[in-house]
Amino acid sequence: MSTKKRKATLPHPHDSLLRTDRIPHIWCPGCGIGTVFGCVLTAIQKSGFPLDDVAMVSGIGCTGRMAGYLNLDSFHTTHGRAIPFATGLKLARPQSHVIVTSGDGDLFAIGGNHFIHAARRNMDLTIVCVNNFNYGMTGGQVAPSTPFGAKTTTSPFGNFEEPFNFCSLAAACGAVYVARWTALHIRWITDSLSEAMQKRGFSFLEILAPCPTSFGRRNKMRGAVDLLKFFHERSVVRNQIDPKDAVLDFNKHLVVGKFVDIERPTFLDNYQLINRRELGDWPALERQVPRPEKQAGG
């Protein structure tokens, strides 16, 4: 093998959105996070939003590293606190489109309380959860998403707990958009992301992703493609079904699809509604932020 770096002759269509000086990334071979990240970048490009008005907030963990590679306003926060951080960010500048990307452990174990309350408030955020069924960054511990019986470094004899159904939880808490795909469903992920980003309110996307390094190798899905094959064989699309019936059963099937797409006033809609009612001529929240001239001399 040559040690020479290959020079790219053509720019990658995502280059303008990447902090290319931070590549190579930290994700393992076979990991599904890069696929999801690619979908996020495509959805941002397709959205038509001014790029200065798009921001990403992530928590801690493998998926939490997404924000670090996005060449937009990007925030890598504390474990579990991406959603409350994003809440402050969004409310301070409502014209920004804030995407939260994080893992299952970050969003639903340590950050579970923040998730349910942000959904209840219908905070205008797009939440992308990459569910790899374990804590990848710390070497594969049991998570609130780990299937019953699956082996991890902290469930060496098999997981004796039942996992959450994140989509059902999100819907029950009031999310206005809920969808689940696997990392194989690239077009569906991108389409769902596009819809979710246009949606006003708390939208939630769960992407089942392979983690061969930590989860796969302890559960007889050691190869990078083993988990993808598994997703391919087991996933069934059931759009519009009640998300509580969208079961993830590793022995039978993994139900994916778009489950919820409803309208509900956002936190800021209701904040303005109540304040206008009580305080009369209430000021608009959107503040104009002066933009610097990008080409201006330093």
Partner: protein, 386 residues
């Protein structure tokens, strides 16, 4: 009807309410908090006042979220604050550390009550002085200030915002239950008489902007959301670009910057006041509500012919090392009353460096320190050094 932001006038107001008015006068337009005695009144007043002036109030699900939300709002371009008391302050430590690491201006008002644990929720203590300094993980410098009256709750909250904006860090107001709940005269000056400092903004275009390259004052200009700078903000150790770097060189550079921006500006940050100190043979060094006990004790001591004085610490952190060292060379003894079993007295002893006697007047919390106890300590210290 949009109300005035600065309610110029003279009021009979409690400390928690005065804190809100100070925050608003300083430009705070975002508050995220969680109810907790004895700081609840701050959240209550903010929930009424911020909507009146077009700001954002949000009651979060806990103090972890409150602290995270004000960091987010600060990066969103707003001046932001939260308020809490001991148990909530403990929960905020995680994101105070993030705020220190990412150099995020914001204000945390801790209206202290007696602990440990749930302790005495409705009663006074000064037990979180060291938690403010060392409670969050990792190494850093903090700025913490301590008001003694509702008027100072107003004035010091403005000062806290100015410090946070100038030095880019969470500034902690170490109030206490008595100062928070006490009603006194609070004078709010005209808006144009209030000095308000805003964070430095970058003067270079995005292509030349390094988010963590400090100016000569040790503080980097701060771009915020949507301004086109596409900055990356992380709690990982980062370089001047804001990018994570996992080595000891980057760690050294970052921690050194976090520490030096406070240490090198300590003379500009530190404030204290002195009373009857010129000829004093013994000085009471106090902060917060205990200053008022100290002043009363010293007034009585003076009537009895004891040459006593008071040093009122307005800044707790950074601690006024030089002033204490000088003072320790001039007096026979330093007395510190505090509503804990000895926290700031450790700093006092360290800075006095053995040049004079240092004595603590402790109180476990639940009531303020009676002036007689300080008077007794003054007598005892003078006898001991006779």
């Amino acid at each position: 009807m949009v109300q005035k932001a600065v309610l110029t006038g003279s009021y009979f107001m409690n400390g928690d309410d005065a804190c809100c008015e100070g925050a608003i006068a300083a430009g705070c337009r975002f508050f995220a908090g969680y109810p907790i005695t004895p700081a609840t009144e701050v959240a209550e007043r903010m929930s009424e006042r911020l909507p009146e002036i077009g700001g954002i109030f949000i009651q979060m699900e806990d103090e972890l979220a409150s602290m995270a939300a004000i960091l987010g709002a600060s990066w969103g371009g707003m001046k932001a604050m939260t308020s809490t008391s001991g148990p909530g302050f403990s929960l905020m430590m995680e994101n105070i550390s993030l705020g220190l690491c990412t150099e995020t201006p914001c204000v945390v008002c801790n209206v202290q009550r007696a602990g440990p644990s749930t302790g005495l929720p409705t009663l006074v203590a000064q037990g979180d002085m060291m938690q403010a300094r060392w409670g969050a993980h990792g190494h850093y410098e903090v700025i913490a200030i301590s008001p003694s009256s509702p008027q100072e709750m107003f004035d010091f909250t403005i000062w806290a915002f100015n410090l946070s904006e100038q030095y880019r860090l969470p500034v902690i107001i170490l109030a206490d239950e008595v100062v928070g709940h006490m009603n006194e005269r609070v004078v709010i000056p005209p808006a144009d008489k209030i000095q308000v400092i805003n964070r430095k903004k970058p003067s270079v275009p995005p292509s030349k902007y390094l988010p963590y390259r400090p100016d000569s004052d040790g503080v980097a200009p701060m771009a915020t959301l949507g301004e086109g700078y596409h900055m990356h903000v992380t709690g990982l150790t980062h370089d001047q670009r804001g990018y994570p770097v996992m080595d000891d060189v980057a760690q050294e550079e970052m921690v050194n910057r976090l520490v030096q921006k406070v240490r090198k500006n300590a003379d500009r940050i530190i404030r204290y006041e002195t009373f009857f100190l010129d000829d004093a043979e013994v000085a009471v060094v106090a902060y917060g509500i205990s200053v008022r006990s100290a002043k009363r004790a010293v007034a009585e001591a003076r009537e009895r012919g004891i040459k006593a004085g008071v040093v009122k610490l307005n800044t707790i952190w950074p601690f006024p090392e030089k002033m204490i060292r000088d003072l320790a060379g001039k007096v026979r003894a330093l007395i510190m009353p505090e509503i804990n079993y000895g926290q700031m007295v450790l700093e006092l002893e360290r800075c006095a460096g053995g040049l004079c006697l240092v004595r603590l007047v402790p109180h476990a919390g639940g009531a303020i320190i009676r002036p007689e106890r300080i008077l007794t300590a003054l007598d005892a210290a003078l006898k001991e050094t006779a």
